[in-house]
Symmetry: C2
Subunit: 371 residues, 2 copies
C-alpha cells in the first residue's frame, strides 16, 4: 500500500492541520516529529525506551546506511525494520542533503552526485536511480526523491538550476521507483525565491507524489526568512497530501511550521543537544552542566513522564560532570519526549481550534528561564 | 535492620550454598552477582533496562562518589538510593581498593591512606572512620570495612603487616559505625599465605561482622592460586554469614567461587567488556567486531531474553563498527543478563544438589566457541 493522508481538522484561525498518516507499518497522528535514526539507531536509545518517548515514526539516513553497513546487507537481512528491530513506520531521506553537507569533494552533474565518503574517502556516486535503489533495499515506508541542495545565500542562477535539476531528478526517481509498499515524496527547492518555489511546487505536483517536502531551509538563512518562505510554499501545496519540513528544527520552528500547515518534521537537535547536556523544557532550555543545578532537587519538568524526570537536576548534572554515558542517554530521551509531547499538545490544540493560543502559551513558557 | 543470611541448601557434593540475604531494601537470592554502579549509574544502562537484566543488588564506589559529586550532596539529596533512583539493595565498598589501584601518590599509615585524586590531583585522606562516614552518608544497605590492599607477589612481611592493619582498621570501622539500617562486612586479607588468611579470619570473626569478604585476590596472581586461597579461607568462615568475593571475575571464576562456598560477587567485567564489543555467552566469548559476524542473522544466544538478543549479531557488529553508542549499551545489558542468568542457574543447580554437573556443563559450553 501507499501512504494515505487523512485530514481531521483545519484549525479555525491558522493554517495548522491535524490528520492521520496511514502507512504500511501503522498509523501516525499528524503533526508529527520523527526521531532521527541515522545509522540504524536513535543514538543511545534502546527501542523499549524509545517507544516510551511517544515516537511514532523514525527517519533513517540513506547516505549513512549505504556507506555502512551497506544496503545490500540490510536487504539480505530482511530490510531496515528487521535489521534495527523498529516495527513502526520509517522514512528514509535520499542522501541529497548529506552529499551536500557531509561528503567530501562532491561534484553535482545532471547524472547525479559524485563524492568521497566522509568515513574512508571511498569514491561514490549517488544518482536519483541509485538513491531509490538504496531506499528500496532498506524498505522504508516513505522514500524521498533525491534533491540538489544548496547553501544560502547563493545566486539566483544557481538556485534556479538546482531547483530545476531537483524537479528533473524527481521525475527520474518516480519513473525508477517500483516498490508497491513504499511511497515517494517530492522535495520542493528554490531557496528564498517565491517564483522558484512556486514553479517547483507546480512542476512537482503535476507528477502527483504521495507527499511533498519543503527542503533547502535551515541552511544558513535567518528564521524569519525561513518562515516567510514556508508561508507561500506550503500554501501552494495540495491539501490532501502530507507536507514535510526537512531537518527542522527548534521547538519554536515546529510551531511556526505547524501554523503554516506542515505535518511532519525531523531534526537531530533533541538527541544531539541532549548528548551535549542541553535539555528542552516547557520553561526554556537548560544547560545541565551549569553549577546552578548542583543541588537542585527538582526534575527537569514536573509533569514529564520520561525516566530523566524521575531524577533530580543535581543527579543529571552529576552524570555529565562525571562523564557517565547515562547523562547523554537520559537527556536524549527527555528531549525526544519533550518534542513528542509538544507536538501531541499542538495536535490537540488544532483539534480544539485553539492553536494560536497554544503557540502563545508555549512562547510564554520558553521565556521563563533564559540561559 | 541489619542484613540477615538465611541458608536454604548446601549442595550435596560441593561447598556451594543457596540462600537468601534479607536487607532493608529487599531480599536477595544467593549466590548473587552485583552489577557495578561506580559513580551513581551502571554505565550506559537506564534503570528500567537494568531491572530487566535480573540484577538484584548494585555496588556503589565510595572513592568515586566521595570525589564526585561528594557524599555531602548525596546525603543532602536523600542518600544514594534516592539520588540514583535504584530502589533495591545496595552495597558500597570502602575505597580501600581504589586508593591502591586508582589514586595517585597513595601513602598508607596506621591512621589511613593519604592520596591525590586521580581526577584533579586534590590531596585527600581516607581513614577507616572517614570511609564509614562516607558510606553512612551514602546510606547503602551494606558497608565494607576499609582494608589495606597490596599487589601480588609481595613479601611476607608486607602481606602480614597489611593483613594485620586491615584487622585493626576493621575494629575502628566497627567502633565508628552507627547506622542501624546499615550492616558492616569485614574483609579478609593475607595474600596467598594460608596462615595469614586463617589468622585474619579468626581475628575478624571474633569481632562478629554481619558478613565477610575475601579481598586482595585477582590482583595479579594465577587463577589456580586464587582458587587455592579460597579453598581454605572460605572454609574457615562462619556458615551463618554471607561471604563475598570482591571484584571477581570471569564466569568461570564465579562458578569456582560458588563451588567453594562464596555467596556474593561483583565485577566490572560484564559492562567494561561489553563496552569493548565482547559478549559473554553460554558457548563462549564473542568479539562482535569480528568480520565473521558481518551477515550473521543469529542472536548472540538463542534463549536469552535481553534486548541485544532481539537483534542479529550482524546488527550488533554494525553498531560497533559505526560507533553507535547503542552497541556498548546493548552488549553491557546482554553481559549483565548473562551473568545474572548464569548465577540464577547455579542457584537452581545447588537447590537440586547438582552443582557439580552444572559447572561441568558450563565449561563444556564455553569450550564450543573459542576466540
Amino acid at each position: 500500500m501507499k501512504v494515505k493522508f487523512e485530514l481531521q481538522n483545519l484549525d479555525s484561525t491558522t493554517k495548522a492541520r491535524a490528520g492521520i498518516l496511514h502507512t504500511p507499518h501503522g498509523d501516525v497522528p499528524t503533526p508529527i516529529f520523527m526521531a532521527v535514526g541515522t545509522a540504524g539507531s536513535v543514538k543511545g536509545i534502546e527501542l523499549r525506551l524509545l517507544e516510551e518517548t511517544g515516537v511514532r515514526i523514525i527517519l533513517g539516513n540513506t547516505y549513512h546506511l549505504a556507506l555502512r553497513p551497506g544496503e545490500g546487507l540490510i536487504k539480505q537481512l530482511g530490510g531496515l525494520h528487521k535489521f534495527t528491530g523498529w516495527r513502526g513506520p520509517m522514512l528514509t531521506d535520499s542522501g541529497g542533503f548529506q552529499v551536500f553537507s557531509l561528503a567530501q569533494r562532491t561534484k553535482i552533474t545532471e547524472e547525479g552526485a559524485r563524492f568521497q565518503s566522509h568515513i574512508d574517502g571511498r569514491r561514490m556516486m549517488f544518482s536519483p536511480e541509485r538513491s531509490i535503489e538504496i531506499q528500496e533495499a532498506l524498505g522504508s515506508d516513505i522514500a524521498m526523491c533525491m534533491d540538489h541542495v544548496l547553501g544560502l545565500p547563493n545566486t539566483d542562477k544557481k538556485i534556479y538550476d538546482a531547483m530545476s535539476r531537483t524537479v528533473r531528478w524527481a521525475q527520474r526517481c518516480k519513473e525508477f521507483a517500483s516498490r508497491e509498499d513504499q511511497s515517494l515524496f517530492g522535495i520542493v527547492q528554490g531557496g528564498l525565491n517565491r517564483d522558484f518555489r512556486l514553479e517547483c511546487v507546480e512542476r512537482l505536483t503535476a507528477m502527483d507524489f504521495e507527499g511533498y517536502a519543503v527542503g533547502g531551509l535551515s541552511v544558513g538563512e535567518p528564521p524569519e526568512m525561513m518562515y516567510a518562505t514556508m508561508d507561500y510554499t506550503v500554501e501552494a501545496l495540495p491539501q490532501d497530501k502530507p507536507r514535510y519540513l526537512m531537518g527542522v528544527g527548534t521547538p519554536a520552528d515546529l510551531l511556526e511550521g505547524i501554523e503554516r500547515g506542515i505535518d511532519m518534521f525531523d531534526c537531530v537537535m533533541p538527541t544531539r543537544n541532549g548528548r551535549n547536556a542541553m535539555a528542552f523544557t516547557a520553561h526554556g532550555r537548560m544547560r545541565l552542566r551549569n553549577f546552578k543545578y548542583f543541588d537542585d532537587e527538582r526534575p527537569l519538568e514536573e509533569d514529564c513522564p520520561c525516566p530523566a524526570c524521575k531524577r533530580s537536576r543535581a543527579y543529571l548534572r552529576h552524570l555529565f560532570i562525571a562523564r557517565e554515558i547515562l547523562g547523554p542517554i537520559l537527556l536524549s530521551i527527555h528531549n525526544i519526549t519533550y518534542y513528542e509531547r509538544l507536538i501531541a499538545q499542538a495536535r490537540a490544540a488544532i483539534l480544539a481550534n485553539r492553536f494560536e493560543a497554544f503557540k502563545r502559551e508555549c512562547y510564554e513558557g520558553w521565556a521563563e528561564e533564559n540561559e
